[in-house]
């Protein structure tokens, strides 16, 4: 007979879960004490200062005891209950916390059991709410208790993510031809690949210095010696080879990422599939799209080819490696991508620009940074440290271009920002997708009645830097009004 659990009364984690807690705390303790353990072992071998051994041992044991003790206390002080369609979790001894999660905000409840948990007869309960990829809360219960809790919560109406039925029609939206893929590959940002290649070469040179007898800095000096006596043709050949290799690498990476690309549309969202060898798939429910952006690097802007991004809830926590962008190789694709969110704002829309003080501030920062870099390099013995002065004009030019290009077009329903610098980059955000608004000022901005406005959504944030404080405040008030409207 199944035990009836009264979740209206505070419940604790079962005693068998303490094994799990102890194991976790031992693992944390090991992660923390390994430097002390290494120091202890080395000191034992050298035996030059026996008092040090005692100190390291005391530190290791003390830290381990603290971590294990803290974990056990936190384990025993966790309680949970259900109250008025809310899950209430109370935890903590030193810092007491009461977390209340309404049922309608619980997106998913996961029950996981690894080999140890199966042995102990317990399950890990993870509670998810919209917006974050990590779980909001996690604890351990017996199998029957975990299922009873899940049933008690899931019997209430809960927000669901989009699920597609097999009967729904999938309409093709975008497919890439071989020619599109080739152009996309050849227009990739090879400078980035070149820098990555150089970084990789430097790291490997240092790793192999034990065999070759030369560090990366020695190799740079060797190359300088060789090219100093060489001809222009030799130097040009060297640079050409590096460029060609970088282009080939970036081309290959783009083919691997966007090969077999397809985008289908259903009544509820887009289904995007991409990748030649490692295939990634993403479902983009229309309702979950928080804002959209599109960009073209400094090569692609001249074609023009863009990469289009749907920023959905939880996206800000995913690394760039796992994001899928939609290659827009024809202007006709744009309306298809915009139609379920908001059309692009037309050219006559009123807009805000960045204050000229932005450039002034960057001139100051660039000057300070350049002088500091030159001084430090010179003190470290680099005779040609003055070359670092090139940072100043590059930094200032970048800020001038950024300020010149920046425009925030504002309509009743959305805001569209052009934040291009050397590449083209745009974002479009509907006001009703804003979840919080921040107006911030540094000392420089306060003095000039300027501010930076940050609009947060479930899929990331959009910033309007160095606008008038009055405009920032008005936009904040308008965003709050539209969210409620």
């Amino acid at each position: 007979m199944e035990e009836q659990i009264d979740f209206s009364k505070p419940q604790r984690q079962p005693i068998q879960a303490i094994v799990q807690a102890l194991l976790k705390s031992f693992a944390s303790a090991l992660k923390s004490i390994w430097p002390f353990a290494l120091a202890y072992i080395f000191n034992l071998k050298s035996q030059d200062n026996p008092r040090k051994n005692t100190v390291w041992l005391i530190l290791m044991l003390g830290l381990s005891a603290f971590i294990v003790g803290y974990t056990l206390i936190e384990f025993f002080y966790l309680r949970f209950m259900i109250r008025d369609k809310e899950l209430v979790i109370k935890k903590g001894f030193f810092i007491k916390r009461e977390l209340v999660i309404p049922f309608e905000k619980i997106q998913a409840i996961h029950l996981d059991r690894d080999w140890l948990q199966r042995l102990l007869g317990i399950a890990k309960v993870s509670i998810d709410t919209p917006g974050t990829t990590h779980t909001e809360e996690r604890f351990f219960l017996t199998n029957s208790m975990a299922k009873a809790l899940r049933d008690a919560i899931l019997n209430q109406p809960i927000s669901h993510t989009v699920s597609e039925s097999a009967e729904e029609a999938h309409l093709p939206v975008i497919n890439l031809s071989g020619k599109d893929l080739f152009k996309l590959g050849i227009s990739a940002n090879f400078l980035k690949a070149m820098l990555v290649l150089l970084g990789f070469a430097i790291a490997r040179a240092d790793d192999l210095s034990g065999i070759t007898g030369k560090t990366s800095w020695d190799w740079v000096e060797w190359i300088e010696e060789k090219t100093a006596g060489g001809t222009v043709l030799l130097i040009a050949s060297g640079i050409t080879i590096i460029l060609v290799v970088s282009i080939l690498i970036s081309f290959g990476l783009v083919i691997l990422k966007y090969g077999n690309f397809s985008m289908l549309q259903t009544t509820k969202g887009f289904h995007i599939r991409s990748g030649l060898i490692n295939v990634r798939e993403k479902l983009v429910p229309f309702k979950k799209v928080q804002f959209i952006s599109w960009e073209a690097n400094w090569i692609r802007r001249h074609i023009p080819y863009y990469l289009f991004h749907f920023h959905i809830i939880g996206d800000h926590e995913i690394s760039d490696k796992w994001r899928i962008a939609v290659p827009v190789t024809r202007p006709a694709f744009f309306p298809l991508l915009f139609q379920h969110y908001h059309p692009e704002l037309p050219k006559g829309t009123p807009f805000l620009t960045m204050s000229g003080a932005y450039v002034g501030r960057n001139i100051l920062y660039a000057a300070v940074f350049s002088i500091a870099a030159i001084l430090i390099s010179w003190l470290l013995g680099w005779e040609q440290a003055l070359w670092l002065g090139v940072i100043f004009p590059l930094w200032v030019i970048r800020s001038i271009i950024h300020r010149k290009n920046f425009k925030a077009a504002i309509s009743t329903e959305a805001i569209q920002i052009n934040h291009s610098i050397f590449s083209k980059s745009h974002s479009l955000l509907r006001w009703d997708k804003v979840v919080s608004v921040l107006v911030k000022q540094n000392i420089f901005q306060r003095h000039r009645r300027l501010a930076t406005l940050v609009l947060f959504t479930g899929g990331g944030k959009v910033e309007l830097p160095y606008i008038q404080l009055s405009d920032a405040n008005r936009l904040r008030d308008y965003a709050l009004y539209k969210v409620e409207d």
């Binding site: 100190v55 810092i95 999660i101 309608e104 917006g131 800000h316 979840v435 540094n442 959504t457 904040r476």
Partner: protein
């Protein structure tokens, strides 16, 4: 596709600049300063221990230099705590909550209640002793979009939490 782009009048929209700001509880100052004292005692003790056990560091000039640097940082930290507490305040309106903070870098964050996913009230050892609580409102925007308001009276924190949860139940919305 029909697309309109009508102008908007902001005259009727309530401004966040006209709100009544409520400063944090005085107990928060004690919590912060006690915490400051505990941390700096630990830092000074660890520095002394490091200098004692590492050969070559136990010299008058090094000791005085380290002490001078730590003392300056310690004073600046205390000054910073007192200054920042002067600016910490919050305001609760019908549809949203505003939190103002910062001394050198100032900011005002606004979260509409219908965007709050859930909330938590917490209090550390010192917070319980000096009767101050912190409330954190979680949104779908993650940590950067959430707001943590420290220095609330326990009753205010509980009432606010209950009020927010009632709003969530009434709205019944999910993102």
């Amino acid at each position: 596709m029909n697309f309109e782009n009508t102008g908007i009048s902001l005259d009727g929209i309530p401004s966040a600049e006209e709100v009544q700001w409520r400063p944090v509880e005085p107990g928060l100052k004690k919590v912060k300063l006690y915490g400051w004292a505990i941390w700096w005692v630990i830092i000074f003790m660890v520095s002394a221990a490091v200098m004692f056990f590492i050969p070559g560091l136990m010299q008058i000039n090094i000791g005085m230099a380290v002490f001078a640097v730590l003392a300056t940082l310690c004073w600046f930290h205390s000054f910073s705590i007192r200054k920042s507490l002067m600016y910490k305040a919050f305001s609760i309106r019908e549809h949203d909550i505003l939190y103002r903070t910062g001394w050198i870098f100032r900011s005002i964050k606004a979260i509409p209640f219908n965007r709050v996913q859930h909330c938590s009230v917490s209090a550390g050892v010192l917070g319980r002793k000096f009767e101050v609580r912190s409330i954190r409102l979680f949104t779908s925007g993650g940590f950067a979009a959430d707001v943590l308001i420290p220095g609330l009276n326990p009753q205010t924190a509980t009432d606010l939490q209950e009020w927010i949860l009632n709003k969530i139940h009434q709205d019944g919305r999910a993102d």
